[in-house]
Symmetry: C2
Subunit: 164 residues, 2 copies
Amino acid sequence: MVKQETQREQTASMEDYLEAIANLGAGKKVVRVKQISDMLGVRMPSVTSALKRLSEQELVEHERYGHIELTPEGAKVASEVIDRHEALAHFFAQALGIDQATAEEDACKIEHVISPLGMERLAKFVEFMEACPMGGANLPDRYEYYLEHGELPQDCVKKGVKET
Amino acid sequence: MVKQETQREQTASMEDYLEAIANLGAGKKVVRVKQISDMLGVRMPSVTSALKRLSEQELVEHERYGHIELTPEGAKVASEVIDRHEALAHFFAQALGIDQATAEEDACKIEHVISPLGMERLAKFVEFMEACPMGGANLPDRYEYYLEHGELPQDCVKKGVKET
DNA sequence: TATAATTGTTAGACGCGTCTAACAATTAGG
DNA sequence: CCTAATTGTTAGACGCGTCTAACAATTATA
């Protein structure tokens, strides 16, 4: 039995198109070339040619001057990208305390290159940070203090965790 | 007075070449096309053509069949990339507990796309985590426990941080 | 509904970064 | 020191992803 090897692995650009189409189409809304072009900051012919490629890979259905829709396979890829995006943006914004715009920007880039393990651990880490409040002074708060004052807050050294 | 706007901003590929040259040349060692080609996993003509481009931008000095060296400007760019690389690899390995190989791999990709703010905060975060041990049960340890057992260790909720 | 505005497509160009094939220079061994 | 092996370069092709210019279809409006 020969290894099918679908050679599925999208470029960053194609992932961006899939992501945009998924986001624009969320809630059954009709998706237009112009919207995609605006959302991604490219010209319309770039969108048309991307749609052609994605159609050839069966990730998108597109009829001339008409309907644009993700295939089930395309939707799957898109949702994976979107999941990564959200976890990353959440990490940057909540854990690192970065402004939403920059957090999104970084998420948009990193979502295309991070390893599955890196992704998984990052998500777990955020979960952990949020679940492990250490009483009233939780980690994000202490981190924020550290960012602001450049030194550790009291409760990092004095309070908390004596060895009992 | 017109805005000089040096339009300096390297592609991921060019940053990789600069990084490789810096690493290979560390400690005055002679740098060869073949080494760069092996290190980056590309063929030699790709290296030659990259060197040509980087020379045109005054980031590298290269004489035919001979000497390869970073200019001061090139060395500066390289060292910025290397700094990002190291901070990222450190974060993935130490903070997230990812194996060295994967941590390096992720660092190699993300170093080319992360924002300055993201970078700065990530570094600060690692610093904070390492400086804020919370007594004997420090954050990385507790995180490790969480990874292993899927639930918070005792000292996240019971011990530590009562509101005094 | 005829026409204007908008949206979408096609054709073709271009820059980047890679490759292979062929050849040239350099280096190492007999 | 000559020859073989290695290293490096040139020439030219190619795929990706973008663009502009020109045209075509669709939609909105007077």
